[in-house]
């Protein structure tokens, strides 16, 4: 479904040199799998995620989605096939919940008024109470639920989530982990999730990919990581559990 082949990306550094973000990343995500990208700050996990919907263009290497090199596809067309969820939901503050969710269908010309309510039900928000609220009238958890509903509106094959629960308090977070794990299995999407929280990774993901300094240092099931951490960094992340 998603395949990375020796993907490299470097950013210009303030001193005139370069900071290597991705140093030859290889990755393979199967259809229907939920994969968590985890690692310390600056390890390249968010950059890797953004390479999938072309918010970041690699310097070299190749990214494929559904067997097609995405650099040959039109970026907006690609992104419309991929749901995108960011921290705090990334909701547009001047639009109501319904307008936020319905924006893309409205623009591509396929408005089904029932679809918004259906998605609100899916993320367990009562349409009657939430449809016409503005983002400023939502709690953090509610905003995040709306963000997921918005990402699912075009029924994408892939869902990318960039630290979706990062800004929430631990109790809400744990509750959402359980709930979204169920939801993601129900909608049967291929999911790539970025997190810095091993508990979140273990709660949500079928497979955990650990990055350090732009390289994949371990790739396996939660059990495999727990049994044999590949580096000291992986071990220290496991200790926090």
């Amino acid at each position: 479904m998603i395949r990375f082949d020796r993907v490299r990306k470097a950013w210009p550094a303030p001193d005139g040199g370069q900071v290597v973000a991705l140093d030859g990343v290889d990755l393979h995500v199967e259809v229907g799998q939920i994969v968590a990208l985890i690692g310390p700050s600056g390890c390249g996990k968010t950059t890797t995620l953004k390479c999938i919907n072309r918010l970041v263009e690699p310097d070299s290497g190749r990214v494929e989605v559904g067997g097609v090199d995405i650099s040959t596809m039109e970026a907006t067309a690609l992104r419309r096939r991929i749901g995108w969820v960011i921290q705090k939901g990334g909701l547009f503050p001047h639009m109501t919940v319904a307008q936020n969710i319905g924006l893309l269908p409205k623009l591509v010309g396929g408005t089904d008024p029932a679809r918004v309510d259906e998605l609100l039900e899916l993320v367990r928000l009562s349409p009657r109470h939430f449809r016409d609220r503005y983002p400023s009238e939502l709690s953090g958890g509610q905003a995040q639920r709306v963000g997921v509903a918005r990402a699912l509106v075009q029924d994408p094959e892939i869902l990318l989530m960039d630290e979706p629960f990062g800004a929430l308090d631990p109790v809400t977070r744990r509750q959402l982990h359980v709930e979204f794990k169920g939801l993601l299995e129900r909608v049967a999407k291929t999911v790539v999730l970025v997190t810095h929280d091993m508990a979140e990774a273990f709660a949500m993901a079928d497979r955990v990919v650990f990055l350090e300094a732009g390289r994949v240092v371990q790739d396996g099931t939660p059990e495999e990581l727990r049994a044999a951490p590949a580096t000291a960094e992986v071990a220290s992340f496991l200790e926090a559990l």
């Binding site: 919907n53 918010l55 907006t76 067309a77 690609l78 992104r79 419309r80 991929i82 749901g83 995108w84 960011i86 921290q87 705090k88 990334g90 909701l91 547009f92 503050p93 001047h94 639009m95 109501t96 924006l103 893309l104 623009l107 503005y134 983002p135 400023s136 918005r150 990402a151 075009q154 990318l160």
Partner: protein, 505 residues
Amino acid sequence: MILWVAAALAQDEPVVVGSKTFTESRLLGEVMAQLIEGRTEIPVERKLGLGGTTIVYGALESGEVDLYPEYTGTGWAVHLGIEEPVRDPLRAFGVVQQRFRDERELLWLAPFGFNNTYAMALRDEVAAEHGITKVSELAGHPELRAGVSHEFLEREDGWPGLAEAYGLQVDELRGMDHGLAYEALRSGEIDLIDAYSTDGKLARFPVRVLADDLRYFPPYDCAPLVRADLLERHPELGPLLGELAFSLSDAEMAELNAAVEVDGRAFEEVAASFLSEQGLLDAAAVAEGPDTNRDADLGTFVAARTDLLLRLLGEHLALTGTAVLLAILTAVPLGVAVSRRRALRPLLTVAGVLQTIPGLALLALLIPLLGLGWANAIAALFLYALLPILQNTATGLDEVDASLLEAGRGMGLTEGQLLRHVLLPLAMPTILAGVRTSTVISVGVATLAAFIGAGGLGEPIVTGLALNDTRLVLLGAVPAAALAVLVDLGLAALGRAATPRGLRT
């Protein structure tokens, strides 16, 4: 055939008579206009009261105006920029006439006869007592109390130079406002003042103007300054305007100025009666001018001008509205471009520089391009309105949270959709604040439009300032100020209404 059409068009093209803002210039403009109207078939257009020498002269050079009354001293020092002072009026006229004709195709016709320069005026009583008629006779009278304008007191070619040239010395010398000086003279507090030699007040206050017998003050003889091509088109105008030559002495000009400024008579009426007294025009041709009776109370004064006020208000709104609308249509897209491309940032600086050009200077600069009137005024207002809208559009867009842009791009919005559905709505309150600033500035600056004949509420202000008539000034200034406040409040309310509910705090 083409020649014939061109000739026919030239026949119908009016002669445009201009003038500066002050009473004397307007009066002479009106005199020339009535003379041409009364004695030829050529249509006449008046552009009287154009602001300042630069603007009228610019209009003459560009052909927007065909003739206006100008002073030799101004031609010498301002237009030709000759630094050496001139004393001899014949030499001044000769040089100015020759150089304007050879270098600029502008003709100085025969002067009206008066010389509007600095003069010293002595209280009648004192003058009679000592038998003083000339400045040189002031020497040896240190007991005379002098009150002169601050400028005259300081300028090297004012009092200091005069005192040296004539060997004058007075024990008491005060700098004071011109208007106050006349009053102080009347009440006997001072004896000697400086004045302009054709000032209307000289004709109404008990003073004697002293002859400048050493020719200390530079000559400012007044004459029609005419485009050479006008006389090619209408050769008969040369001799006709020539009939005005030497028709006015200093005292007679002062008397005409006083008729308007002190007695409150209309320009048209004063001009017509002058022409009929000179035997240049039938008295029957006198047009009835507007009532400028200074004794009418304010209520009557304003009530008599409701129609005028409404017309001016309409013009003012049309000027401002058009300019701001054009500015929005230009500055919002430019602001978007500036916020998207770093390389375009210098546009903000350019707009900033435009904003620092003084209003009158900008109007004057635009005359060669756009002439006098609407187009010019709107262009100037437009240029002033650009910066606040441009700046606020760029700032408003820059301030939109980067994570929202990424959210929009990530979900598959095109750059255009992102701009329309996310960036512009979020920046709208800031953009509208810029529109509000621009509009309020434009309402204020639009009062300057009157200086180039574009109408608006500045018209009574300019006329009122020239006539020293406070009521006329207020007739323009009060509605202009009220309009600015109303527009500000109205746009603030509109801004609140246009702010999406989710953004209100």
